[in-house]
Structures are given as C-alpha cells and as structure tokens.
Amino acid sequence: MEKLEFKFPSQALLAAAPPALCGVVGSGNLEILVRSGVDRQICEISVNTSARGFGETWRAVLATFAASQAVGGTSIAINDMGATPAVVSLRLAQALADYRGGAQ
C-alpha cells in the first residue's frame, strides 16, 4: 500500500452537499468518496493505493481533474486497487456528478 496526499487550487464548487460515494474497491477499480472540505479554493485528495510507484501519474491525473472542474471546497478520499488512469478519470467524473447531483 502507498498513501498519497495532494492539494490543488481549484475554482470553488458552488454548494456543499451530502457526501457521495462512487465505485468499488476491486481489482483494477477504485472507490471515491467526495465530501465538503475546509478551504473553498482548494481540493484536497488523499489516495490509498495498492500499486506503489505511480505518484507522479496520480499527481498528473488529479491535477488535470482539479484544473478542468470546479472542485474547490471538496475533500476527496480514494481507495485504489490498481485502476488505470482511464478508470480513475471516469470515476472522478462520476463521483463529482453524484456529489453535484446531491447538491441540487
């Protein structure tokens, strides 16, 4: 296991909402929990992953997510079992859509 912590500046998400959980912890998959965070301009992400040594890839995937979406003010927890960047990006988009959906 490897634990990674990231903080990215991101445009503030308009409304806080109840937590949203997306995905499952299974081989090649991951679960993502989106909750409201502390700082409205920051997206905090913590990653627990079974695959060691992919820190830079995680940073790139998560930075792209935080730059392209308004996710400031969220705290995201990820439990990963070796998902590819493709799966991670899709799950992030789904988790955010679920979280936003909950805010409506």
Partner: protein
C-alpha cells in the same frame, strides 16, 4: 527467322497426371477414386506432393484443416522437403512443425497469432524464409498470379461419394483456394467431418476435388469472435458512447466493419440502448461486413440491423443465423454461406467505416500489433482499415469525411478508419508511443518493411477515454501530432502535449472531450449494455444461440 524452342505447353497437366498415377499405383483410389482412408493419408501426401511444391494448408483464425496439417507434418522430410507454404494463417503447432522438421522452408502468409513467438524464433535461427506478410486479399490475389498452389489441403464439413463438398457455415477461404489450385493443374485434397449420400448443398463441385478423407475428428474451429459482455468495462462503455455520438451519428455510418475486441463489442451492445435513445435506429449500422458476433444479437433483435455478410461463422451461432435468413446470407438448405474473399472485398470497397483496436500507435497515427519477439501479421485489418483509392460510388458518410479531409470541392470521399484504444493496456503499458516496436522488429527480422497494420494517413479518428481526435481536420503534421497527443491521456506521449495547441484544436472541434459531446459520465455504466452476460445473449436470441462451454458459467 529463329524457330522458337520446342516446349511442352501442358507440363502442369502432365505433372498432375503423374502425381495421380503415383497415388493410383499405391492403391489410393477408393470408391470413385476419391475417398482415401484416414490411415493412408501420409502415403497419399507423399505420393502427390513433390519437393519444392507450393502447398496451401487451409486454416484461418476460425476453421482449420488440422488433420491434414498434422499428417503433412508427419510425412518423411527425406521425401518431401523445401515446400513453400502459402496459407492465410499459421495457427496450429503443426504448421510450425513443418518448418522445424525440415519439410517446408518458405512461408507466405497473413497472420500467425498464437504461433507468433515460435515463428520469430525460427526466423532468427534462419530456419524459415518469409516471403511476405500479406493481407488476406493480397494473398488470395497472389494465388491467382505468382503464388498458385500445386497442392491445396482444405477442410470441408461433408463430402458425397462423387467428391462434391459441403462447406457448411464456415466456408471462409475455401472457394478462393480451390479455384486457384484446381484450375491451374493443382491437386485438391479435402478433409471432411462426415460422408453423406446427399449433401445439404454443393459448395465445391466434385470435379474440382481430387481426394477426400474422413478426418478422425471434426476440424477444429476457434470461437474467436465471442466476447463475454461480463468483461466489458465502464471505460469501454464511455468510449462506445463517444464513438456512437461523435462518429456514427455525425457521419450517418450505415455500412461498416467492426474489429474484434471488447471496445467494439461495447458499441454493439449499446445500439439497442444508447443509440436507440439518441434516435439512431435505422440511421446507423444497418449493413455489416462482419463475423456473426454474438454481441450483435441484441442489435439484430432490436431491428437495427438489415444485413450481415460474414467472413466465416462463429461457434454456437449457426442455429440463430439459420433462423435469421433475412439478415444473414444463407443457402437453400438454410445454413449460412460465408466467404472471406468477398467479405474482405465488401470491407474494403463497400464499407464507409472500419473501427478497430491496436496495441501501439505512434505520433503519425501508424499502428501496429507487432511486439518484440513475435511476428503476428495482419489478417484482414489493413483491407478494412484503409481508404481505397479505387472506390467511385458515393455515400453521405464517405462524402462528409472526404470534404473534411480535402475541402468542399473534393472530388473524392474518404473512408472512416477509426482506432479505438484505451491509453494504457494491461500492466500500464502505454498504447501511444514515440516509436513503434515494429521498427525494431523489422531490423531483427531483416524484413523490408516494418509490420505496420494501419498506416497513419489512413486513420480518420482516434477514440480514447480522453476524447476523440479527428485527424481529417488536421492541416499540418504538427496539428496531427498534437491531436494524437491530445487524446493520449496520461501516457508519456500524452503528458508531453502542447497544452495551448491542444486547447486550440479543441476549440476547432478537432479534439473533443466527453463533455464536449454532451456525454454524462454517470450514464457510462454497465447498466447501459443491452446484455451484461453470455446468458443475456442467449436470452436475446430466444435460446437459439448455443455458446461454447467455456463461455457458459450458469
């Protein structure tokens, strides 16, 4: 005036006569002179095959003349040697045995699949000379020019006493092989699964066939085109949604071929759900050059599909096909007639789109399934996945693509050639690379060309989980490179993109993201698949589809 040197003008016929006499002298003429007992097949092969002959051993990635292949490999290399094998596929261990045992020395072929590693080793040891790696149509073409077989060893479902053959749903390559051999003084030997007094239909007339042998067991058929929907991932669903909305719908693609794989299986399974929701029924995917993919059943049952012509059949699909004769090509007996040569022709000239997958793609869009230490070949993909310059008939999809590529005054259209890949394969191997392994392979194999499956200038679109790149709209090599980098995700090639240029391409619609296409990521779930298991496919077929046991888990 010099008198021409006297020569025989019928040496092929004379040679054929001598071969048949040798067989007859061994008592190898059963009833009507054609039925040979299985235990004398080696005697027959040694009698009719000569040193240095060109021999076609029938086999594709579906049916295999496996008994004849094993028998030929068991012949005495002191009697039969220096054979030049001309065959579609090198698939069985016995095919490679021919070279390892010193019976054959040269190979012209299309695809090697599972024997790719053994083949590469033989080449490195200089125990095999590869003439060329072809597409199927090229190889069939050369059967009628400079690679005509002296002897063809083929597989048929059944023979009657006269030697007429019934090929069953897996007609595949047989007509092309037999026609070239039988009409140029060659010998045709067929292994059959059964002998019948009355054939369901005659696919090969008896006077094109010299010998038939009842094989000890039915010829092997690989269920190569069966994809279990249970293994389709949500990323594949997302990519399929992008392909349908961003390409199929926009170009109005009605005539097409799908490559083999889970990416395209996902598209097939989204037709009755997502595509129907978008109002695309009757507007896309009506006419197919395609093997009978079980994953196409829900689309057929939903009324999406008008016609399917097949290269070969697929294990378990025959009863379903026979019951859907409006859709499939079937004989008067009810069973399907496939034909690889004609279906490849349809794929090359009559389809508006090919969509398939690859293992590697470079920054020019060249793609290859060759990896180091393996010689795999191409099969039919380059015929499907290329823009045929000899096409002259128009269609809306072809015209739209042509105008995107060549401008509004274009005098020709353009086939859509779509490569659909996830940016990483298993074990985080990037699909997008600076240089294809094919180049290194060319050097290590001493080949004249790198084994590129689909050339970049034939590719119109690339679909990845990150988006769609439309290469038709790129105007410079730099734009093309950045469009490819722009969908290459988090591979090193993708990370090295010029972000500003990719955003500019996005503004021009050359690179499009799922959100640009209005795709809701929450919809990208397995729940959108019309069938989520093989059992679902059986249900859709009304119980007509009978999957092979390895796909049954209920």
């Amino acid at each position: 005036m010099n008198a021409p040197l006297p020569r025989a003008w019928d040496s092929l016929r004379q040679s054929r006569g001598k071969r048949l006499e040798r067989a007859a002298s061994l008592g190898l003429h059963g009833k009507n002179g054609k039925e040979i007992p299985a235990d004398r097949i080696i005697d027959l092969l040694e009698a009719v095959i000569e040193r240095g002959d060109r021999v076609c051993l029938e086999g594709n990635n579906q049916k295999q003349a496996d008994f004849l292949a094993e028998s030929l490999a068991d012949c005495d290399p002191a009697r039969i040697n220096h054979l030049q094998m001309v065959q579609s596929v090198l698939a069985l261990p016995s095919h490679v045995d021919l070279f390892e045992r010193g019976l054959a020395s040269r190979l012209d072929f299309s695809f090697s699949g599972p024997q790719g590693a053994r083949l590469a080793k033989l080449v490195q040891q200089q125990r095999i000379e590869i003439g060329a790696i072809h597409t199927y149509l090229e190889l069939f073409g050369r059967y009628f020019l400079d690679l005509t077989p002296n002897v063809a060893l083929i597989a048929a479902q059944a023979a009657d006493a006269q030697g007429n053959l019934y090929l069953g749903p897996n007609t595949e390559d047989t007509p092309a092989i037999v026609e070239a051999t039988a009409f140029k003084g060659g010998i045709v030997i067929a292994q059959v699964n059964e002998r019948l007094d009355q054939l369901p239909r005659v696919d090969v007339p008896a006077d094109w066939v010299d010998f038939t042998v009842l094989a000890p067991k039915p010829n092997y058929i690989e269920p190569l085109f069966t994809r279990d929907p249970a293994q389709i991932t949500e990323v594949q669903v997302l990519m399929a949604m992008m392909a349908i909305k961003g390409i199929y719908a926009e170009y109005g693609v009605t005539r097409l071929n799908h490559g083999i794989g889970f990416d395209t299986a996902a598209i097939e399974l989204l037709l009755p759900t997502y595509a129907a929701e978008l109002g695309l029924k009757g507007k896309i995917c009506t006419h197919w050059a395609l093997n009978p993919h079980p994953t196409l059943i829900p689309a057929i049952e939903s009324g999406f599909v008008e016609s399917v012509h097949c290269f070969g059949s697929e294990v378990g699909m025959d009863p379903y096909i026979a019951a859907r004769s409006d859709v499939f090509f079937t004989g008067a007996d009810g069973s399907m007639r496939s034909n690889r040569a004609f279906c490849q022709t349809a794929g090359l000239y009559a389809c508006d789109m090919f969509i398939g997958s690859t293992l590697q793609m470079d920054l020019a869009g060249n793609s290859s399934t060759a990896t180091l230490g393996r010689i795999t070949g191409f099969g039919g993909a380059p015929n499907m996945g290329s823009d045929p310059h000899g096409r002259r008939h128009a269609s809306p999809a072809w015209l739209k693509a042509g105008r995107e590529a060549y401008g509004p005054q274009a005098t020709r259209g353009r086939k859509l050639v779509v490569q659909m890949v996830e940016t990483f394969r298993e074990h985080m191997a990037p699909v997008f690379v600076e240089e294809l392994d094919a180049w290194q392979l060319q050097h290590s194999m001493g080949a004249e060309l790198p084994p590129i499956m689909i050339h970049g200038d034939d590719v119109s679109h690339i679909v990845t989980e990150e988006g769609i790149a439309n290469l038709l709209l790129c105007r410079t090599p730099e734009e093309r490179e950045q469009a490819i980098r722009g969908v290459a995700g988090f591979t090193p090639v993708g990370m090295a993109r010029d972000k500003a240029m990719v955003e500019n391409l996005r503004d021009r619609g050359i690179v499009r993201r799922p959100e640009d296409l209005g795709i809701n990521p929450r919809q990208a779930s397995r729940g959108l698949l019309a069938a989520r298991s093989v059992k679902d496919l059986v249900r859709w077929s009304g119980g007509l589809y009978a999957p092979p046991s390895r796909f049954r888990n209920w």
